[in-house]
Amino acid sequence: MTTTEAQSLYSSNRGAGASWQTTLSNALVITRREVQDSFRDWRIIIPIMVLTFFFPFLAQFTAGRISGFLTQYGAEYIGEQFIPFFLMVVGFFPISISLVIALETFVGEKERRSLEPLLSTPLTNTELYVGKTLAAMIPPLTASFGGMTFYLITLYWRGAIWQPPLMLVIQMFILTIVQALVMVAGAVVVSSQTTSARAANLLASFIIVPMTMIVNVESVIIFLAPDGQSQYGIFALWWIALGMVVAAILLLRVGNSIFNREELLGRAIDSLNILGILKKIWRYIHAVDDDGTRAQDPLDWYRRAVPYSLRKMKAPVLVTIAVFIVYFAVGYYIGQLDGYRLPLDSDVITVDNITTGGFGGLSEEQAVFFIFMQNSRVLLLALVFAAISFGVATYIIVPSVFVILGYLASQLIPAGYSTLLVAAVIPHGIVEIPMIILGAAVAFRLGSIVTKPPKGQTVGHAWMIAWGDTIKIAVGVILPMLIIAALLETYVTFPILRSVMQSLN
């Protein structure tokens, strides 16, 4: 032994704070080893070689034949679109391997117990996560780009009838990258929730099935898009790429949150204790804090538990208000466009229209129930979809009301019906609008909390507390207030609206 004194040889490159260069530099140590390891595995090498060289050749040959065959029957366009279609397929097949590699590098390491020595090193969770994510993406993307390039070269070399526009080719490359990123990021989430490769492979269907559906949609778009030959690429494919980027960012955030030492080592067996989860949520519904301290009685619950949860909603409420203002402005803007303006003259808005159009033949009691149910249904729907979409769905489902409000404002105010708008919205809106904002904020928080749980909380723990907060606020505030809003709308708004209308007529 040469050791003369116990002084660690570790030399930190972090300095005062870790920059992204430091993170990347440390992450690449992991990436290099993993990529090297992947390229030593014949089960990865052989498919990559086949998909890089043989399959593009076959795809190019098939595209040429189909194109020639369809040309005989005057369907040149469809025949030509097979060329970018196969380019997409050539790119997609190799990246499907990224899913396998990602599952292997994360859950495989866990299964072989080789992860703990890595976790015992000074690397941060993010460095490990970035290193492994890159490692899972590099070999398949290399194969993918190699295959696509080979396909394009053979296409050029064989002098194909139609050469795809450059932007369409770029689109295919971009879609390939984001698809790989979504699959790898999804695989990390799946891997961290399992302890065996078998379970991870079963759960991977939640990634591969939606991804296959997206590829099918992309295929249909390639063949049917009216701008299939545009020099700016296919517009719909840009939207898909953008959606995938958002999905990838959210999944990467979730992955980074989940990929921490406690989550990785704390899970010993794959078991789902539904009763245990429900019990915990029940506990947090009654709790006055995040430790689960139970409220003494219903009064204490209203006095301490509900305000505690409401305080957590500050940021989500601000985000929701901002989003709703944007949606309102969009509605207002649409109302300014030619062809979207309503012909507002006095015979359109009458007392009779309001009466029959308002309740649709329902009694007042039925109207209260209907209005309450309608509002609750929208918020419930937003909640359910938010929970499985990292909160994004909240801002797709709920804000449509604000687009409509913006649109109505754009029509009624210039036409001199401001009083009418105020009468139709304010009496019940003063209660209903804040509740819709709060409801949307709660749903957004429930979905988005998994992407960044509060410090010191695991994803699962944070999610259960968020469910407790959600139910607490829904039962304690939103639902009672929506009943009040429905009563106001039926018994106050409509009479006021009627009298305003009478004065207008």
Binding site: L9, R33, E109, P117, L265
Partner: protein
């Protein structure tokens, strides 16, 4: 070097480690013993900043496990229960990979990797893939990995469990040599003989709680009581045990032997021998009945079990 204060860890409602307070000085070897599931691994994981404690604090090599997790891990070498080697890699490659993680410069890490591998008898397999290594070789390589960055604190989980006697001795010798550099060791093991051979101090942990802490002599005194002496005579004892009763506490006797306890064997034993001479009894041997660590361990654990049953029934 290692200092913990009321270190506690909960997994949901399960208390895995309960208020563990420890201090291990530089150059000291501490053996942590305990039944399976006692909380040893969780304690080690908290000490290496892999798991955050639910409450309490710990300082390793001067760094706080919560405030400075990266620096803690940089100054600790860990041999995990499962070695977790990458089978397709070669031994030297593997060490080079970890050397890069610790950001040791290339010449130093290569030199050190070779030296350590040779020191542990792995010189012949430097360039062999680890899939071809025997179980013992893998364990030795994992140990080398833990020592590669020359950490001042080493936490070793079952360091010689898969090794043949010769390899196990190599590892024990290395530990003895390394502690001379004021290096701190904490060993968790089920091999009580090894713990007895290596450790300066023993900690026994059960249900996450420390139930015994001290040197083997201290524990022996504390748990087994005063030293037990055995006197063997030529022929029968002829009532010797009654004659000794006013000098020592006789524990047991047989046809030609007497066992007694005394707090001061150095002063009592000559008197006992004198008495035998006076009585004309020929002494064959007088020796201390040594209590092994195994006896101490079993007694501590059994007593704790009894205590636990009692408190449950109350």
């Amino acid at each position: 070097m290692i200092e913990t204060q009321n270190l506690t860890k909960y997994f949901d409602d399960f208390r895995a480690v309960d208020s563990v307070t420890l201090k291990v000085e530089p150059g000291e070897v501490l053996a942590m013993l305990g039944p399976n599931g006692a909380g040893k691994t969780t304690t080690v994981r908290m000490m290496t900043s892999i798991l955050p404690p639910t409450s309490g604090s710990a300082t390793i090599a001067g760094y706080d496990v919560i405030q400075n997790p990266e620096m803690v891990r940089a100054h600790v070498g860990v041999l995990t229960e499962q070695h977790g080697l990458y089978e397709r890699m070669k031994g030297l490659e593997y060490l080079d990979f970890f050397g890069q993680i610790y950001r040791i410069d290339k010449p130093t890490r290569q030199k050190r990797a070779r030296q350590l591998m040779e020191r542990f008898g792995l010189g012949d397999v430097l360039d062999k893939r680890m899939g071809e290594y025997s179980k013992g070789m893998k364990q030795k390589l994992a140990l080398v990995r833990a020592m590669l960055h020359n950490p001042p604190v080493l936490l070793l989980d079952e360091p010689t469990s898969a090794m043949d006697p010769q390899s196990a001795k190599q590892v024990r010798d290395a530990i003895i040599e390394l502690r001379r550099d004021e290096r701190t060791f904490m060993i968790t093991t089920h091999n009580l003989t090894e713990a007895q051979l290596l450790a300066d101090r023993i900690v026994i942990i059960r249900h996450g709680r420390i139930i015994a802490n001290g040197t083997i002599d201290q524990l022996s005194q504390q748990i087994v009581g005063e030293p037990l002496m055995e006197l063997r005579v030529n022929g029968e004892i002829n009532g010797l045990h009654n004659d000794l009763a006013n000098m020592v506490r006789v524990d047991n006797h047989g046809l030609n032997w007497v066992q007694y306890r005394t707090p001061e064997p150095n002063s009592t034993n000559p008197q006992v021998l004198k008495k035998c001479v006076e009585l004309g009894i020929e002494v064959v041997t007088l020796s201390q009945v040594t209590k092994t660590l195994e006896d101490i361990y079993l007694q501590v654990v059994e007593e704790d079990e009894v205590q636990e049953r009692k408190s449950k029934s109350q």
